[in-house]
Symmetry: C2
Subunit: 357 residues, 2 copies
Amino acid sequence: MREDNAAATFDMDSWVCPMPLRDSPTIVMGHGGGGAMSGELIEHLFLPAFGAAADAGMGDSAVLSLGGVRLAFSTDSFVVKPLVFPGGSIGDLAVNGTVNDLAMSGARPIALSTAFILEEGTALAEIARVAEAVGTAALAAGVTLVTGDTKVVDSGHGDGIFINTAGIGVVDDGVDIRPQRARPGDVVLVSGDIGVHGVAVMSCREGLEFGTTVCSDTAPLNGLVAAMLATGADVHVLRDPTRGGVAATLNEIAGVAKVGVALDERKLPVPDAVRDACGLLGLDPMYVANEGKLVAFVAPEDADRVLSALREHPLGVRAEAIGVCVEEHPGMVVARTALGGTRVVDLPAGEQLPRIC
Amino acid sequence: MREDNAAATFDMDSWVCPMPLRDSPTIVMGHGGGGAMSGELIEHLFLPAFGAAADAGMGDSAVLSLGGVRLAFSTDSFVVKPLVFPGGSIGDLAVNGTVNDLAMSGARPIALSTAFILEEGTALAEIARVAEAVGTAALAAGVTLVTGDTKVVDSGHGDGIFINTAGIGVVDDGVDIRPQRARPGDVVLVSGDIGVHGVAVMSCREGLEFGTTVCSDTAPLNGLVAAMLATGADVHVLRDPTRGGVAATLNEIAGVAKVGVALDERKLPVPDAVRDACGLLGLDPMYVANEGKLVAFVAPEDADRVLSALREHPLGVRAEAIGVCVEEHPGMVVARTALGGTRVVDLPAGEQLPRIC
């Protein structure tokens, strides 16, 4: 029996909110958007509170050396609303999201844990439907579901189904893929159409209707990464542009590696249906979430063969080179627009599309 | 873009509820209690739905061989209410719960992931308080927080803070601890006072008041397990009796190993304050959750030295031998009562104390 726990001795009244972007000392939806406010929550609240227990990185995926094996380890919770949307469900996202986080560190995903938080009153049929999607997605990704947990919360204190997955994978010798490796000269590739997942989820929210059905791009990217690595190319950085879209991802990489990114906006593959829907909603496709796309920074001499490898894979047929990494404007992403001007592509502050994953 | 996902093709109308214990086809609180209904949800709904993707075990902790390293992998979500209670908080539970699941497979816990689901409107000070408890508990347990995730859900669709942790650990050569290894003759040990955590959480729920303050026993058990293994004893089974208490844990082990368990009820260490509170609430301490205790099945020739090792450790001073493993009544737990009679200690059906962890 302990009285000396941190929670009990914490002085709620004298605590000073350390968050530059927030006046109001409570959580808002924007803290979950994967943009500046999310980063601030981690940097100014979680990391100082975790203290010496936290590894400085605390990135999407950690790589640890254990007994000679390089192991990637990652986790994500999924709270998407609605649970089922065109092209997928929370079950697909829960598997593919963690598989992709592992793949973005160059790991071969091996095993997943699944943890469900169920709301009292949720239909068992709904849970079975989602669990089947989890099983199907895991088979497709080639990962095994090895351990799990189920909790139930009272009606009105959850929202149907929340899923957390954590995953482990093995990073093969010679593979070194991380944001810090971005360097001037690198070619920036994207594996296909952007903004699809966010628009698909929004399209089935109450009160929103678009002319065309856009299906989520949720997919496991480990096969695509394997195809890129099989070329023998020196892939420096991989990242899946989920919350906050391509804009947030490129800003993060530019910030971590202290390089600039110069985009050619005309090269960004944006489907007409996504462009139309974004116009209607007042969104920029570059800020909309993807769940089956990756962004890669590749040494210039390797860019062509990696682009070819992407395009030969079913998940990369619409891959494009969208820009280059530069010495100028470190930490910033600048786009050349269709009209020949330039604009800064900022890190989004909060959340444009809440509960998209 | 995929149309062939499992969720989309699932036929909600023709789905037949496969759960023997349920007439009503929705989730109830009992499904989260760690008893028969929880087991049924996993066996009859999750495992069939996951299909070939699920490893048959899907236990509290999985042990995988990766490149010559035996790796334990486990996950738990925490939804305890209230977030802070006498002796601990959801932050302590989130660390110690997963550390203990790893330790119960004989692993040395190494690294944890932390994933927060925050409800809009939650005070940042409350989150900082819980995050500090996570950091303090991780330091105490000797594990590093290496990766994480944060999601935000709308007000009224969560409950302040939910935390998921997953953990990885290394199982040393020669260690083989799992429920299947229980065998007749084994001595059953418990590391100390039971029922403490459940009573501590209940004691601060609205409308409930007891005479004494009972503090949660939340604690990391990896050090205690290391002390047991350092004796060189053949420890067959370890399990931390959380949801469903000692009763659920012993029933699970008896069921998996197809052995009987014969308890001596008088040997169970139950503090007076727990006994009094349980009397008031109409509960049996054997069914109340613990968060800093373990149950061990040990070869009879090793029982004395393991019991001594337990008692020499600060977390095991009140350890007791509470029974033996027998050939009779396989799958059943039978207790000799204080009055000299015997009674069957059933697996609890649902949940006596909801949202206790």
